[in-house]
């Protein structure tokens, strides 16, 4: 059975108040068509988990401008002045997380691990309120797993079972977010039939992907 659905059906899966994960790194590898459709639909009070908030006119940054988030968890937001404004004026809660920790928290959430033990952030603001675990005399921060209701992903190619391949630097957070979300939707540039993708070439197995939207070429 093909996992291909329409853009409209895809965005109907995102509800007000949901936590969403969105792939991409400064809008490279971001599902722009899904984002545009979500903005058109006008979902509200979302929590965003994403590496960054892109730009005011590219990537999830467009959703920031549309004021769709009550909370944003990201590693940096400096490229989007609207995120900065919403943060300073207290309109949106911003949680800043080291990039390497954020991706491991998502992987832990998707892979059934209880958390991440990392030295990153020790002795900094990031440490505040968190458990320190000692392993063989070394101190590590315990960072908790992250999960979402919906993941919105981007890939170069999918077969109808949702097996994905990527081109260039677009993998970033797209590879693990599907595992960490109840519903994973991927926007791809090209959909091929089952059997047209070599099993050795698959980067993300279709088991993590629920729905595919054919976004066409970039």
């Amino acid at each position: 059975m093909s996992k291909l659905i329409s853009l409209e059906d895809a965005v109907d899966l995102v509800r007000d108040g949901d936590t969403i994960m969105v792939g991409g790194f400064l809008a490279v590898g971001t599902p722009e068509r899904l984002i545009d459709a979500l903005i058109a639909k006008g979902v509200k009070n979302l929590t965003l988990i994403c590496n960054d908030t892109g730009f005011i006119d590219r990537g999830v940054g467009k959703m920031v401008v549309a004021k769709m988030f009550k909370k944003i968890m990201a590693s940096h937001v400096g490229t989007n002045r609207e995120t900065g404004r919403q943060m300073l004026e207290g309109e949106t809660e911003i949680v800043l997380i080291p990039q390497g920790t954020l991706i491991e928290q998502i992987r832990a959430g998707g892979f059934g691990l209880g958390g991440v033990l990392t030295k990153t952030g020790l002795g900094t603001e990031v440490e505040k309120g968190k458990q320190i675990i000692e392993v063989d005399g070394e101190r590590y921060l315990l960072e908790k797993p992250l999960r979402a209701n919906v993941a919105l992903l981007f890939a170069e190619k999918a077969d109808e079972k949702g097996n994905l391949t990527f081109h260039g630097a677009t993998r970033n957070f797209n590879t693990y977010m599907g595992a960490a979300a109840d519903i994973a939707i991927v926007e791809v540039q090209k959909v091929v039939k089952v059997g047209e993708m070599c099993a050795d070439e698959v980067v993300v197995p279709g088991v993590f992907i629920d729905h595919i939207v054919d976004g066409g070429a970039l």
């Binding site: 790194f25 400064l26 809008a27 490279v28 590898g29 590496n51 960054d52 990201a74 590693s75 940096h76 937001v77 400096g78 490229t79 900065g84 943060m87 300073l88 911003i94 800043l96 080291p98 990039q99 390497g100 920790t101 991706i103 491991e104 992987r107 990392t118 030295k119 990153t120 952030g121 020790l122 002795g123 900094t124 603001e125 990031v126 170069e156 990527f166 081109h167 260039g168 630097a169 677009t170 993998r171 970033n172 957070f173 797209n174 590879t175 693990y176 970039l218």
Partner: protein, 219 residues
């Protein structure tokens, strides 16, 4: 006197000499990015981009631009032969796991014990730490490339006053005034830019500065 651009290039050129043959290097945004332009001829230095690849090449020509290939600062770049693309978990596994030989980053402040503050100024818009905290705790060698002072105020201090990005992380500091090692004895000046006197460098430094017995001229 050097203008700002000359000063940055002078710093970047000196940092580039630190990059040994066969090393993997991650360059921060801004001044550190310039370092790639000054790698000594014949040295095999590979650059990682933490958004997901090894083998960062020069900016593309107009017809080479690929929207899927950009660096961690969202600038279009190319990938060199022998490079590879990967996801963020792999990228930060490489960083956190100590597989990056050198990272070059800017800083707001560096303390004599190697503490570094480079991502937030309380009360101002906080852009976020991005990958900096992971790079500082994971890279084998941390080089700070920055101007020696900010508006006349020292950036090398006994203790950082701004929120830290990492503790005891910095190994070497390269400024327009000199090259400073961070040691158990604190800051040690190992190279001096002859444009500045030792007194000038000391007074621009907010912590004791040991002058190395083997002090060299910076070039």
């Amino acid at each position: 006197m050097m203008d700002k651009q000359q000063m940055q290039e002078f710093i970047a050129k000196r940092v580039a000499q630190e990059l040994q043959d066969g090393t993997l290097v991650n360059l921060g945004i801004g001044l550190p990015t310039l370092v790639a332009n000054f790698v000594p001829e014949g040295r095999d230095v590979t650059f990682q981009s933490e958004n997901g690849f090894i083998g960062v090449g020069p900016a593309p020509t107009e017809d080479q631009v690929d929207p899927c290939i950009a660096n961690a600062g969202a600038m279009p770049v190319t990938i060199l032969p022998g490079g590879s693309f990967f996801d963020s978990a792999m990228s930060f596994g490489i960083i956190r796991g100590g597989h990056v030989d050198v990272t070059v980053l800017g800083a707001l402040q560096v303390a004599e014990n190697g503490d570094i503050a480079n991502y937030m100024i309380p009360g101002k818009m906080v852009p976020g730490m991005g990958g900096a905290m992971d790079l500082l705790s994971g890279a084998k060698k941390v080089i700070v490339a920055m101007e020696h002072t900010a508006k006349g105020n020292p950036k090398l201090l006994r203790e950082c006053t701004l929120p830290l990005t990492a503790i005891k992380a910095v190994d070497l500091i390269v400024t327009e005034m000199g090259v400073i090692e961070v040691t158990h004895e604190g800051f040690v000046l190992i190279e001096q830019n002859p444009e500045f006197t030792l007194d000038e460098i000391k007074s621009a430094t907010g912590a004791p500065l040991v002058i190395s017995a083997a002090l060299k001229q910076m070039a």
